[in-house]
Symmetry: C2
């Protein structure tokens, strides 16, 4: 059928009707009382979502814009940065820091793995003169479907005295995250993920420790300048004209998230991704991430069966079922496909996706016990 596309990719993700309706309204003036009232509530709700007392800045930008904001407001050319790289998005931190003229060292692991806390500890212990001022890392690595043990890694970074700069683009609003309790210094995120609205907004919050470093930054970005956003947040506004329609949509999805509750949101994501993994194995396919403890609950990376191409699987799902799943990125292109359950995705959506995948694989000649994977998913969610 036409006009029935469903996104099971790690972003953009599906958007609820109330948010779409908000997008369709005539834009409000960004300096109006009506808009400030919306923004006031949104700022408050974002603090709840990030579990922080700090201000959460709203940038009109892609998530990468907020990553740039984090680096450019804190890092001076020549500063030493340690980048923990477990995939494409971890590498992006390193590249942004390099674009700033930082002295970047990478701690990299094979794709499909997470950072081992012991390796980080060893690396930082070797830094006797405390030259490493910043550690960049990815909470959930979308390119491989791996979630780092952020709390443990951050504890090690804090012990060393460095500043943690964290990509929470595909984790906030989907995976457990507690900025203040965990002592995270800088966290960034993006709108087309757990926030359940279209792309166009990015978010950033930073700790008091980060503010001190900001004060020493020689040339902070103008557009992304922390101080400008903080000053304006206090007045329920933004320094430059924001994407008002997206913020109106966000105010709707934040309401929904508060109604569902943080724990329920996390449980929903864990249950659906867990059920999908069971179903994948019931289909005789292999999960790309071998270590169970680090598998992401928002994106599952799957290896195609022998003799079946990722391109054909994606085409079958798209053409016959209007379901969009993602290819691998970089070196994993054509080697894995990735099914996202990030944000506005419910059990019903995953039942449909697994059923469709069974049909596509059967049509492509893979020997599937028809219905077995769907049954396995149903069983998994019912016994959870």
């Amino acid at each position: 059928m036409k006009d029935k596309q469903f996104l099971m990719i790690p972003g953009p993700t599906p958007v609820p009707e109330t948010a779409l309706q908000a997008m369709a309204k005539h834009p409000l003036g960004h300096r109006s009382k009506e808009f400030s009232a919306i923004l006031k509530q949104v700022f408050q709700d974002l603090k709840w979502l990030f579990q922080t007392q700090e201000d959460v800045f709203i940038y009109t930008a892609s998530g990468t814009g907020a990553m740039e904001a984090a680096v450019y407001n804190l890092v001076n050319p020549g500063d030493k940065v340690l980048s923990l790289v477990i995939g494409n998005f971890g590498e992006r931190w390193a590249k942004i820091a390099e674009s700033r003229g930082a002295n970047v060292e990478r701690l990299s692991v094979g794709w499909g793995c997470a950072i081992n806390p012991k390796d980080l500890k060893a690396k930082l212990s070797a830094d006797k003169n405390k030259e490493i001022k910043f550690v960049t890392l990815t909470h959930n690595e979308t390119s491989t479907g791996v979630t780092n043990d952020l709390k443990t890694l951050n504890d090690i970074i804090q012990e060393h005295g460095a500043l943690s700069i964290v990509d929470g683009i595909t984790s906030i609003g989907a995976l457990p995250f507690k900025m203040d309790e965990w002592g995270i210094d800088v966290i960034v995120s993006g709108s087309q993920k757990g926030f359940m609205i279209p792309p166009g907004l990015a978010f950033l919050a930073c700790s008091k420790k980060a503010w001190k470093i900001y004060e020493q930054c020689k040339y902070p970005s103008f557009y992304f300048d922390f101080a400008a956003y903080k000053k304006n947040a206090k007045k329920d506004t933004t320094p430059y004209t924001p994407a008002v329609s997206q913020i109106a949509a966000l105010s709707e999805t934040l309401k929904m998230m508060k109604e569902e509750g943080l724990n329920n949101i996390h449980t929903r994501h864990a249950k659906i991704a867990g059920g999908l993994r069971v179903a994948v194995e019931a289909m005789g396919l292999e999960l790309f991430v071998k270590d169970k403890k680090i598998r992401s609950n928002v994106i599952v990376a799957i290896q195609p069966p022998e003799g079946v191409s990722v391109a054909d699987i994606r085409k079958g799902l798209k053409d016959d079922f209007d379901i969009v799943v993602a290819d691998g990125q970089g070196e994993l292109k054509g080697k894995i496909f990735r099914v996202g359950n990030l944000g506005f995705v419910c059990e019903r959506d995953m039942i449909a996706t697994i059923g469709a995948l069974e049909i596509v694989l059967a049509r492509l000649g893979h020997n599937v016990d028809r219905g077995k994977a769907t049954a396995a998913f149903i069983e998994a969610v019912m016994s959870n």
Copy 2:
């Protein structure tokens, strides 16, 4: 009445229904063929709108983001920049260049004036060693309602050999502009203006001469990096997840603009702003900009009558007629109010605004010949 707000401010501006409907659709995947097809057409139409053969980059950002992009991709710390300042937005260029560590000199005029080409010529002639590498300027200064003679100023900049960096945020799609024919080096714009869509996108195009300077830039911005956007534009995509809903809306408004035609768009803006000025004088009010030749055709700055406050005029229009007009900015706050006719504004809207303004002024005790200003507007548009 409720739910009938109409924006007569210089942005956000009113949005046509087709664009609002596009905003309300489920977002497309940004790497899908469907989205690339939209983007391909949008890129082509933007070249038409900017009157250029160069690529027009689409940034997910406010207009200020594109201003930062222009400066950060070209200017190195220590470079000498001449900023032509005729108001708030001209000053913004200077501040962005300073945030980059540039050596900024300002050529400023009183608010309500334009840059005199002779003054620019004298300033650049005095720069015997050609230390001034960049000149920043504003095509249409929204804070005062003044339009610079961009073509003449740019000719002088080109003669000196400097690079022109131009804010076309409130001019593109409303005032005559020809990037290639005029030989402009860098032009930026924003979506919530002549483009007739909500805020969230910014645009930038640069000349071959600018590309050569870009290659010497030590630390170009990562998020706004020219090369990344150019490389991706060739493949009908963007380097990072763009605001897909806004781009879908833009594809609708660009269609409308092509149907109307560039000349007709410019004539419409000139006719409506010209008619408003006639009406303002018929009401016994004074225009803030005294020099007729530099008055903007997208925003008219008006001085309130003696004894009537800007706040009361704005409140009356808002409360009784759901019409939003802008206050002055910075030193002009409370001294002028500004009525925009930028983008999706037609004669009917201005008739209504002028009629409402007559009633508001009369209620506030200003002696108005009732209907005279509205009649003057009608007369002006009919005789044009």
